[in-house]
């Protein structure tokens, strides 16, 4: 009780990834320094400019400034700007001077009345940041309220409720998200992430957060991406250092002869201080995932079907079924011939990331969790039930899982004889139509109070099945 009141639980901390402990203490300190430098701690976050994220309420330039009035031109879109928002001068004579604070904001004119008059007026065109880092701060608050108990403070998918869930909450630190509508080589788009958060993942414990406002959603998504980037930097940096500076590697090197513990430590310190060594590596890691995230947001990263969905028909469904059973596509090897999720691969022994046999036979995802191919009879589609969702699942696969991308196998010339004919993605749509039909496969017409094949229904069968009995209490 006293703990609750005085907050003696302490500030939340970003937990370290599993491999952190294998490093030599000095390497651990360096990892901590890098992360602290660029990301800070949960209670003192750093909004690092280099990350491709919208971390501020708005960014723009000065149009007019005098006394207490400040008019700015903002890059669209920007978040709602409220009284008390900080105005940070980002260039010009006021750069690095004290921030100003907004007293009133006129959204129509993008004009602010400041809390106190400016001592020096900035020049037209000087860069300003409104509410620096505020989106990140809001995101953290909302994340702590709604997501943290499952996804963990550091986004490691290891919050206090996580051990009780199957599938486990997503660990963001690999930068991989399963249910995207982007090409298989791309990451998730912001829209993919926000649709997941808005609608939840049916069939798992990931709930829907429908009632979040648009601004709240933006903040949460930016924060999730921020956590993902932080985790990815941590993981990759540790991976890099572990080669030469894990406790084990250092022991091996000493055993190898020439080197001693001290020379290795000295070598490490030199590498840290040499801009071309570790600092460069850190830059490379960050640049790589940054450009990957950025390119995944572009329109051409999206999965774009070539043709509209083929209307569902018995013929299309039959073609889909045929494709589904085609040995070269292997759908049935995983999902089973009847689509029950019990194909032969679910009984095969597989290897984990380190090349060891997994103890339980079956398929595993990138996070090392056992995944079952979906039972296609359930009618539950975790990544969404829109045609574009199922199309993307087949076209680009489910990232981080054994479910592969079929874009290269299923796109074909519309006329197999004519190599000059256009490409078509009909086959994917046939498969989609088939998948939609599976949950209704063994429902006979008239069953369940309705007829699937014949929409004019038989009133007599209906009355028995009709569920409106009087319920007491």
């Amino acid at each position: 009780m006293i703990c609750l009141i005085s907050g003696c639980g302490g500030q939340p901390e970003f937990s370290h990834s599993e491999k952190f402990q294998t490093l030599k203490p000095y390497a651990q300190i360096y990892v901590d320094q890098v992360l602290d430098n660029y990301f800070g701690s949960p209670s003192d976050m750093v909004a690092w400019d280099k990350l491709p994220l919208e971390l501020h309420y708005g960014q723009g330039t000065v149009v007019e400034a005098s006394g207490r009035m400040l008019t700015v031109e903002l890059q669209a879109p920007h978040a709602e700007i409220t009284a008390g928002t900080e105005v940070l001068w980002d260039s010009g004579i006021l750069n690095d001077k004290d921030s100003a604070w907004i007293l009133e904001w006129d959204e129509a004119k993008h004009q602010a009345k400041l809390e106190s008059p400016l001592a020096t007026n900035p020049e037209v065109g000087d860069a300003v940041i409104l509410g620096p880092g505020q989106i990140l701060a809001t995101g953290r608050m909302l994340y702590a309220e709604h997501c943290q108990h499952c996804h963990g403070v550091a986004g490691d998918g290891n919050g206090p409720t996580a051990p009780y869930l199957n599938p486990r909450p997503r660990d963001y630190r690999k930068g991989i998200f399963k249910f995207t509508t982007t090409q298989s080589s791309k990451r998730a788009s912001r829209e993919d992430l926000s649709r997941i958060v808005e609608d939840g993942i049916p069939g798992t414990y990931m709930p829907s957060f429908k009632l979040l406002t648009e601004d709240e959603m933006t903040s949460i998504i930016e924060y999730v991406m921020w956590l993902s980037m932080r985790g990815e930097l941590e993981n990759q940096l540790i991976g890099l250092l572990a080669d030469s500076y894990s406790v084990e590697a250092v022991e091996d090197r000493i055993a190898g002869g020439d080197e001693t513990s001290d020379t290795i430590h000295q070598e490490f310190i030199d590498a840290v201080n040499d801009p071309d060594s570790f600092p460069f590596e850190v830059d490379t890691i960050v640049s790589r995932f940054t450009s990957e995230w950025v390119s995944s947001q572009e329109p051409d990263a999206e999965v774009q079907p070539l043709t509209p969905r083929t209307p569902s028909s018995d013929e299309s469904i039959a073609k889909g079924r045929e494709l589904y059973l085609k040995p070269s596509l292997k759908c049935a090897q995983c999902h089973g011939e009847a689509g029950l999720g019990d194909g032969s691969q679910t009984f095969a022994v597989s290897k984990d990331a380190a090349g060891q046999d997994n103890l339980t036979p079956g398929l595993y995802d990138t996070w090392g969790n056992l995944v079952k191919p979906r039972n296609l009879h359930s009618g539950i589609y975790r990544g969404g039930r829109r045609p574009i969702d199922l199309y993307s699942r087949i076209y680009a696969g489910i990232k981080g899982t054994p479910m592969p991308a079929f874009s290269s196998t299923l796109l074909r010339k519309s006329n197999p004889e004519d190599s000059g004919s256009e490409m078509t993605d009909e086959d994917i749509w046939h498969l989609v139509n088939y998948i939609y039909s599976i949950p209704f496969e063994d429902v006979k017409a008239g069953q369940g109070g309705s007829s699937i094949a014949n929409p004019v229904k038989d009133a007599n069968t209906a009355s028995e099945e009709d569920s409106e009995e009087v319920a007491v209490n």
Binding site: H146, T161, T181, E191, R195, D199, G200, P202, Y205, P207, S208, K210, L211, E214, P299, E302, V303, Q304, P305, L306, T307, P308, R309, S312, G379, R385, R386, P387, I388, Y391, Y436, S437, P439, F440, V443, Q447, G448, G449, S450, I452, P455, K457, A459, A462, S463, E465, D466, S467, E468, E469, V470, A471, V472, N473
Partner: protein
């Protein structure tokens, strides 16, 4: 000390009276005014019972306080110093204070019957007015089709909603007990016509939950294995809170959702919107339109 106890017991009936007088104006009993005709009748029942219990409580407390004061002043120095009089059982009194409450309880039981029946007994549902809604929104239905316009399935920790889809001729299908290929799906966002009785079928996928519309005074447990019809009528076109009122697990508090009561046309347009979103294939009209909310 004895005066302390006298004042102590005299204090509570006064508090009760003050609370009863202040509460309705300050919205202490309810989350705002009832937003449905049935809700107002339920509130009336509540107030009637509150009257009965308050009068009884205040009355008995006043008698208790009186007896204490009398006893206390009778034992003051300088008075006759009368001892309390002790009695052992009075048949007549026993009969009176058993039968009076029994009569009151019976009265309440009968008095609330029709509200209860209308809310819970299917034959007393306002069927005619529900059918008028189906007419207005052009639902293509047979006599025995479900009266429900949506199926609400509770699950840990969200509300999943299933609406019937449309026929090719533009009419709305009837809701079937089992999922249909044309069904429309939503989550945590229940839309239904306002100003008319509308019905949903309530189910649960896992444990017991409770469908709670506080402003409409609707509360119904969702019980595994049962499909429970509930009807309600929202006065105004606006959004109302939808909560879970049964502690269903650690994420119970997450089960808050929205019930939007709207005009018939808006309701149909909402379903059309769901249909468009659900059929999104990113090709036809304009590319990239799938992200519209």
């Amino acid at each position: 000390m004895k005066w302390f106890w006298c004042l102590f017991f005299a204090f509570w009936p006064i508090v009760a009276i003050v609370v009863c007088l202040l509460a309705p104006g300050n919205n202490w009993w309810f989350p705002g005014e009832a937003a449905s005709p049935l809700g107002r009748r339920i509130d009336d029942l509540f107030y009637m019972i509150l009257w009965i219990t308050s009068i009884t409580f205040v009355g008995t407390q006043l008698v208790l306080a009186y007896v204490l004061f009398k006893g206390a002043s009778d034992t003051e120095p300088g008075t006759a110093n009368e001892k309390a009089w002790f009695s052992h059982g009075s048949h007549k009194l026993e009969v009176i204070w058993s039968s009076v409450p029994a009569v009151i309880l019976l009265f309440i039981a009968f008095y609330q019957l029709d509200v209860w029946a209308e809310y819970r007994v299917k034959d007393a549902f306002p069927r005619k007015r529900m059918e008028a809604v189906f007419e207005r929104i052009h639902q293509d239905r047979q006599k025995n089709d479900s009266l429900a316009l949506a199926e609400v399935t509770a699950r840990q920790f969200e509300w999943r909603i299933r609406y019937p889809g449309f026929n090719a001729d533009g009419t709305l299908k009837a809701l079937m007990p089992d999922p249909q290929p044309t069904d429309l799906y939503a989550v945590n966002d229940l839309h239904l016509p306002a100003s008319a009785p509308v019905m949903i079928n309530l189910r649960t996928q896992d444990v017991q939950h409770s469908f709670f519309l506080p402003e409409l005074r609707i509360k119904q447990d969702a019980v595994p294995g049962l499909v429970i019809p509930i009807w309600f009528e929202a006065d105004q076109q606006r959004s109302y809170q939808l909560l879970c009122a049964e502690l269903c697990g650690w994420g119970h508090y997450k089960m808050n959702a929205r019930f939007v009561a709207e005009s018939d046309e808006q309701f149909i347009e909402y379903l059309r919107q769901l249909e468009r979103e659900q059929n999104e294939d990113r090709v036809d009209d304009a590319p990239d339109t799938d992200e519209e909310e």
